[in-house]
Symmetry: C2
Subunit: 401 residues, 2 copies
């Protein structure tokens, strides 16, 4: 089996964009690359055979969801996530933190007999870790850096990520500073735990590698401080995570620009968490981001929004487009105008779906809520975004990006 | 393109079981054969590539559903159902009658201002045809024999079926007689319309063939009269349809036994509508039935009931087993006992799913309502039933059935 490696093959003469290659025991990832989200150890509706149709290179599995069901112990007993789920591609898991924090700002109301209302947070954060209750069965869980690393080792993906505190949008500078200290301490604890139990992964033969993760809320000086700190540590890869839900495109660009500027020629792979709208990706590639995970292509597919735009034009017209008005890049297949349209989903695409099926048939499947609708739509959107990334890679090689 | 044909290759020395071959422009069907239900021009969750994994030979599409959405005109404009849906196998459509009649016994209640309650049937049947309102948009439809044949020609399957009146369970002999007269008149009208517009099918190049259909409610003398009448007409194939929802296994066996006894050595293919439980199929094969359609394998799959029983034993122990207590032939994959079971779904199966996935993973997918659950379960159940039929065919060749 091939061991883990990352090589920068070419840097654009035109921008900070990098053309690279990640090698893993489960295959090669040509970068810049899209990481398809397979939350619960399944890319919704697809089998590995479909990845050959879509060109999928890399898969993202969510530790939070696996811990809650079926439990990381089941996946370990199965021999790790590749064996359990037959996802035959390089896989990265997250720390589980993001999903926990998305519960953190919510409160539950408990009404007492006398009408008094008590409010309770679902999540408690302190320096030890994050305590929360399962949204499935109410069971209490505590995610510490050590637990998160152990869970990820049990799941047995190729790459794991250190636990951080994903700060909420609009947090004060004072709170953000305190939170960032915690994130940095947790980064050290995560790395220590990872190195300590290096030999105890789900599949002993399988080597894993670890990404550190930067934070910093809305504050550029804290982003700078965080990326310097994380980059100084012995992580195999760097994840850019200081992106809170609610941030504007301009704010996100600021985080990525700061992080990649500080990283400069750092030779480690850089992953941008949770960003994947076609309009924005080129901007971040030009900053020097190597990999992106996002639910957009698969989630949009399942509601019938299918990519239909000229890839070459999008890539060519890139620049600071993320700061501009979004273009209309998708077709709403559920619209009645498609009922008698026997042309393929997109004239800019020659994927399995566009080569075989018509808009009329997909419209029919979506209107009838037929299971095949979600599968075909997912294949199209994933094939499209992979072709989009292939175009980006080519443009970097040609110094056109 | 190959034209339509049916050849009996061998008749068992042991029973009335026939080993045959149906040829069509879309391929060959080895009989006895299972006809997979693809109600709305899709076998739920599957692509044609999956039929290679399952061994699917023959597909059943429901005219009622297609007429209601997207409309038979859309399918015609697409070039017929094979082109529209890419179902690359021989296809048979039904008349649409069965679904209409399943509404026929229901009433809707209309409450007036003064509290008076009026009751109205959703369906009106007379000699002209059946009038009903769409369950989707309330639009009025009239299915006459002529309309049904035209709709089926527009859909463009390889085989169409004459319109009949599917009588409700428990109908009096008097009503059944009257209804049967109507069914026979409709058989004549269906055949006349089919021959009249033979050249106007969805795909002019595509030849279609027509099945007549017998009825007769609960009365053996009427079954006899009906099968004699239908067999005397110039239908390409014979469908046994006198099977009402609610009939006992013994009653159904009576209909099939009578029909096939009367048919004797009639060389046309015989289709038994809507019957497909593994426990019963062998009995009907031994009566001389050639093809069977049923939702059981696919519908059970989608609720997590997966075939897990030794095929050879079931086939070997066949006889009048349909009259006996049902055996437990399925595994309920949603049961918690499967959570840590890393063995395949069935040790009697080597299908794509059993070769690649564990009970634990399927359990996980089902508990999490993941789309892949329904797809993998469907592949397993269809592969299993196809293997079951392959075993039956072999046993007939060997005069062991």
């Amino acid at each position: 089996m091939q061991s883990h490696g990352f090589k920068i093959l070419h840097t654009s003469s035109h921008s900070r964009a990098r053309r690279g290659k990640i090698t893993t025991p489960y295959g090669v990832v040509e970068t810049p690359a899209f990481v398809t989200v397979g939350t619960k150890a399944t890319v919704k509706s697809l089998t590995p055979e479909d990845f050959e149709l879509t060109g999928t290179q890399f898969i993202f599995v969510n530790t939070y969801h696996i811990v809650l069901f079926p439990g990381e112990g089941v996946v370990r007993k199965a021999g790790g996530v590749h064996t359990f789920s037959k996802l035959n591609k390089p896989i990265i898991t997250d720390s589980g933190g993001f999903q926990v924090y998305s519960l953190a700002r919510r409160q539950i109301e408990i009404t007492h007999d006398d009408g008094a209302i008590a409010k309770a947070h679902l999540v408690k954060i302190n320096d030890h870790g994050v305590e929360f209750r399962s949204h499935i069965d109410g069971k209490k869980h505590i995610f510490t850096p050590e637990f998160s690393i152990q869970a990820q080792k049990n799941i047995g993906a190729d790459f794991v990520v250190a636990l951080d505190e994903c700060i909420f949008y609009g947090a004060s500078k004072e709170y953000t500073k305190k939170s960032l200290e915690r994130t940095h301490t947790w980064a050290e604890r995560s790395l220590k735990e990872f190195n300590r139990s290096r030999e105890k992964s789900a599949q002993p033969a399988q080597e894993q590698q670890i990404y550190g993760i930067m934070q910093g809320g809305l504050y550029t000086d804290l982003h700078q401080k965080s990326i310097e700190k994380i980059a100084s540590m012995d992580f195999w890869g760097i994840a850019i995570g200081g992106v809170a839900v609610g941030m504007t495109a301009k704010e996100v660009y600021g985080v990525v620009d700061t992080a990649t500027t500080v990283l400069g020629a750092d030779p480690r792979p850089r992953h941008l968490l949770g960003i994947g709208s076609i309009e924005d990706i080129v901007d971040y590639v030009m900053c020097g981001v190597d990999t992106f995970d996002c639910v957009i292509p698969t989630r949009c597919a399942r509601v019938g929004l299918l990519y239909d735009a000229p890839i070459d034009t999008i890539v060519k017209n890139a620049g600071k487009r993320s700061l501009k008005k979004k273009a209309n890049l998708t077709l709403d297949i559920t619209h009645t105008k498609n009922k008698n349209d026997f042309s393929p989903v997109s004239r800019f695409c020659n994927c399995y779906v566009c080569s075989n099926y018509s808009r009329a048939y997909l419209h029919h499947l979506f209107k009838q809520k037929e299971l095949l609708a979600y599968r075909l739509a997912t294949i199209h959107n994933l094939a499209y975004i992979e072709k989009f990334f292939a175009n980006i890679r080519k443009k970097i090689e040609e110094n056109k990006l």
